[in-house]
Amino acid sequence: MEEILEILEHNSKATADEIAVMLGLPVEEVEAAIKQYEADKVIVGYSTLINWDKTQKEKVTALIEVKVTPQRGLGFDKIADRIYKYPEVTACYLMSGGFDLTVIIEGRTMKEVALFVSEKLAPLESVLSTATHFVLKKFKDKGTIFEEKVVDRREQIFL
């Protein structure tokens, strides 16, 4: 059944009918499995990968390294919770190594991101320091190469 997830991960538009044919399963079984995955929050959501650079919309992404003080009994969870609840935060990971949290922010402008860091993130009590890195260009995201041209270069050969 995990193959259903593999297919949906690459193409969330694949219908239960299509998946059923691909996997040789009854469509009811596929529908039921998807429902169950959704109920169990294994499938957390369906989103679309967009290359915003190709649109008029201004958008910047920044990766922020955050050092925090973990809290007794709660570890990093509570402080992470306070951070990832901001809608500007698109991803938040606990890290090993030189800092604690990776926070990925999307904003309209660099100024907006800078304001978020200086006014919301940095002043949080447990936050010791932040280092903000702006993304200049996205080459590949979620396994998809943005500028890749798929050209079928197979010649007409007979075999």
């Binding site: 193959e3 297919i7 299509e18 040789g24 050969i157 007979f158 075999l159």
Partner: protein
């Protein structure tokens, strides 16, 4: 001098590819979905390409030994042992060739000549018949039937064998039908062959693309090992068609003679490709599995598509082809393909290209993106509804 008269009749008699005309047509059209070409649409996995680049970068541009790098032959030996229970000594039982095709050609040249017969089940890959004819030997074909799941039966084989039979070609998983032969099926053939002076040429180039059970090689039967030559390669399993790399494994006396042909005609297989192939065998298991899984999904979509369009379609268990029966349209295989191409812009290949018995069938290769296959099946249904 008239050049045509200078050329041997046995060469001239071999017909050129029967589907050239479709390729000419396709060049003048746009938006064609080609399910015609029999090669992976995947590009060689990056780690393998990178190994090829590294090989060039570090100046590894010399010949290898005639039989191929011993390091590569050792990897081939390990791979065959792990996957298919085949035991070959890398020193003298493995020859690295320029694609599987070179192995087929060298084997036939080493084994047969005028007066000998080569048994070839059809429909199948076009090179067997051509290469046999080039040697002056006689191809004897066996018609594989849909009601037998396109398998070669012991009875058919028994009936085709004569005193002149020297080689039997066993091409499974099969191009173009997608049929496979499981252990039980092969056992029946082994009973026919085990006490005869006949060499089996087992073409297993599609071995990694087996969707039901595990591929079995006829050479894994102890009584067959010394009388079988296994042909295999990197083209289909690792999506490495353009690298031109294959190998032949068998009795050291046969390999040794084939090595002479290879040595004088080819010298050695390309060094860059051999270096890349070492990486392929060491670190590409995951990619092979991923590709095979993806082909399997497309296979089901293609079978479903042809069946929904009303065609009787045998469920292929291997390779990347479906071979539906198109007799219900009343069209010949060639007319079907030409009309489908012109009216719906989908290219499939007439079954007759793989032997006369392919009449009434077409071959569609599902090594194409899922979107292409879904769209092609839609167009084929529209076409079928008209006939």
């Amino acid at each position: 001098m008239i050049m045509k008269d200078m050329i041997l009749d046995k060469i001239k008699k071999v017909p050129p590819s029967g589907i050239r005309k479709y390729f000419d047509l396709i060049n003048e059209m746009t938006d064609v979905i080609s399910l015609g070409v029999g090669e992976p649409d995947f590009i060689t996995p990056w780690n393998i390409r990178e190994a090829g680049i590294y090989s060039l970068e570090t100046g590894h541009t010399q010949y290898s030994s005639n039989a191929g790098f011993i390091e590569l032959r050792e990897e081939i030996s390990k791979y065959l042992a792990n996957k298919f229970d085949l035991v070959y000594n890398p020193e003298d039982e493995i020859l690295v060739t320029v694609g599987g095709s070179e192995g087929i050609d060298a084997a036939l040249r080493a084994l047969v000549g005028p007066g000998d017969e080569v048994i070839i089940p059809e429909p199948s890959f076009v090179a067997y018949k051509g290469c046999t004819a080039f040697t002056g030997a006689t191809p004897v074909t066996i018609e594989l039937k849909q009601e037998d799941d396109f398998k070669l039966t012991a009875k058919q084989l028994e009936e085709a064998i004569t005193e002149k039979t020297k080689v039997v070609i066993i091409p499974f998983p099969n191009n173009p039908t997608g049929a496979i032969m499981g252990r039980d099926d092969l056992y029946e053939l082994v009973q026919v062959l085990k006490n005869k002076d006949i060499v089996v040429l087992s073409d297993e180039i599609y071995c990694e693309l087996t969707y039901e059970g595990k591929h079995t090689s006829i050479a894994s039967f102890p009584e067959m090992k010394d009388r079988t030559l296994v042909i295999n390669g990197f083209s289909k399993s690792f999506a490495m068609t353009g690298w031109r790399l294959g190998y032949a494994c068998g009795h050291k006396d046969l390999i040794n003679e084939m090595k002479k042909i290879h040595q004088y005609a080819i010298m050695c297989a390309p060094t860059t490709a051999q270096d890349a192939a070492i990486e392929a065998l060491r670190n590409s298991e995951e990619d092979v599995t991923m590709m095979s899984k993806e082909y399997n999904r497309r296979r089901r979509v293609a079978i479903d598509g042809f069946r929904k369009a009303g065609f009787s379609c045998y469920e292929p268990k291997g390779a990347f082809y479906v071979f539906p029966c198109i007799k219900k349209t009343g069209l010949s295989s060639e007319d079907f393909c030409e009309k489908l191409l012109i009216e719906q812009k989908v290219l499939v290949v007439p079954g007759t290209a793989f032997g006369e018995c392919g009449e009434g069938y077409v071959r569609a290769c599902y090594a194409s993106s899922m979107e292409n296959i879904i769209e092609a099946m839609k167009r084929i249904k529209e076409f079928a509804d008209k006939y």
